[in-house]
Symmetry: C2
């Protein structure tokens, strides 16, 4: 038997046919075009699901269920999206609307939670019952596992760790507050910080790359320049990792999870990120000299963790 | 049947004989004198327990169990205090040592968790299964209830919410970090902030009170002066409540508990604290316009919540 997993993001809608082990056997994606209305996006989603099944050699009767992960507050029981900051979904009856096209069980979940489910089932936190996933991308998302299950709070809106203020009255955040973790430690924030640093000192390796390259400035370029000895890139990363450590130590002091696992684009830097981060984090945990310390690692379920996690959703 | 509840703090050791309903029927306390060593403190604790039982009319055979709450990381299974920042306890076998004197089941727990247990059983969060207790006193402590049970993390060191940085590189904290919630929003921090404000403007009602009164400056004086219209005291509280709201909104965005309950000395201000705090908090919760909001209230189990919670401890 197979499942359909959908990662319905603000940029792309990706759907996969996923086998029982969490392996994607067929994949398809289209741009979300989120400026459109709810009905148009759902129509595209339905077509994408039909398309990915047709593209695979798998028969409809071998599809057990459909899971959809998306950025927002999800009422899992009523299969509604209450609110999304990246999609035009308000009290959107996604479950009911998909059910009109597909006679299969349909499950919804927040996308960061889907990624955490994928890590738990076939990634870095396989078999770990208490962990916090920190996804560093456009924003910062969180998935919190307690006792082997996603923690969602009383209203399904919990684990918005990106909107934990770490510097009151600091950088403006998209949520309206000032000084959020996301405003300092997302990939977007890293690029903003690098651009600002380059304004005053662009004779660095990083500055040359930005001028000469066709690709726009991204996290990978900064990590590469730093590892080649570029002082400016190293300073940018030092400051970035300091703020990242502040947020992660906060989460450790609050949760003391077995593992903190970092996902999203920035996590691809691997040990270049983890080594300096561990130094900062392990030196700052409350009563850290006396207690066993949480492990700090990067996600391994890959870019498609959201699809895999969605496919693994169940009641 | 009755239980013994002990609140072993950095300043006082308080022991109570507590009935099944959570009512204290006999109470006794002594100074901790925490500059002494572990053995001396335990000897006093044993004598205090014997004293409070003798003082009551209750027979030893009617005492079911002994619970001890104390500030630190508690290994509940092995009944050890792994670490305490306010007591000279390091890997201290409190359970084993008390067992030599008392042939009753003995339970240990972190003191903020004991206070949360008391609130859950006979206080403001009776019957509430998901809540966060924020105790505002010398420091800031936290008790987190998830699914009707204390959440302690994988190493029993969780819920140190006072050591969540809310202003990176800000005020020095006793834990070694800078900008902790506790360094801005504890009673100690409020008094420090008031003293600083009085340095530059002591012709206020608050300034007069501080000069004329025998009692030292405390939170109550600040709330009283503010309610009498003192502009300086109002400004001190506005800043204090702003930072308190930052920490509380962080906890709501992370946990989305049914209730956030505020305990400790500062909570005695009641609605004078809650009303402006609610305004700040409810305007800042992530996606707060769309989701049900957590209640915000003050603790009601009283000063002896630590004793009551300790007496209610069980396996």
């Amino acid at each position: 038997m197979f499942s359909i997993g959908v990662d319905l993001g603000g940029t792309n809608i990706a759907a996969g046919v996923v086998d029982k082990s969490g392996k994607i056997v067929q994949l398809a994606s289209i741009p979300t075009q989120r400026e459109r209305n709810y009905a148009e996006i759902i129509r595209d989603l339905v077509e994408l699901i039909q398309h990915v099944i047709n593209k695979s050699s798998i028969h409809w009767s071998d599809i057990q269920k459909i899971g959809v992960g998306l950025p927002g507050v999800v009422d899992k029981k009523n299969k509604e999206v209450i609110y999304s900051c990246n999609l035009p979904f308000r009290y959107a009856p996604v479950g009911r609307d998909l059910k009109q096209f597909f006679d299969k069980p349909i499950y919804l979940e927040n996308d960061a939670n889907c990624a955490a489910i994928a890590e738990h089932n076939c990634g870095s936190t396989q078999g770990v019952y208490h962990f916090v996933l920190v996804t560093i991308g456009t924003g910062i998302g969180g998935g919190i596992f307690i006792d082997g299950r996603i923690y969602s709070g009383f209203n399904a809106a919990a684990s918005e760790i990106g909107h934990m203020v770490i510097h009151s009255m600091g950088e403006k955040c998209s949520c309206g507050r000032e000084g959020c973790f996301e405003a300092y430690s997302s990939a977007t924030a890293l690029i903003r910080q690098a651009k600002k640093a380059l304004e005053s000192q662009n004779d660095s390796i990083l500055g040359q790359r930005v001028r000469s390259k066709e690709n726009p400035l991204d996290a990978k370029m900064i990590f590469e320049a730093a590892s080649e000895g570029d002082g400016l890139a190293q300073k940018i990363l030092r400051d970035f990792i300091y703020h990242l450590s502040v947020g992660i130590v906060n989460l450790i002091n609050i949760f003391q999870p077995e593992v903190v696992v970092i996902g999203g684009g920035v996590s691809k830097a691997g040990e270049d990120l983890l080594e300096p981060l561990r130094k900062q984090v392990y030196g700052s945990i409350y009563s850290g000299d006396f207690i066993p310390k949480p492990k700090l690692t990067v996600a391994s379920a890959g870019n498609d963790a959201g699809i895999i996690g969605a496919a693994l959703l169940e009641k």
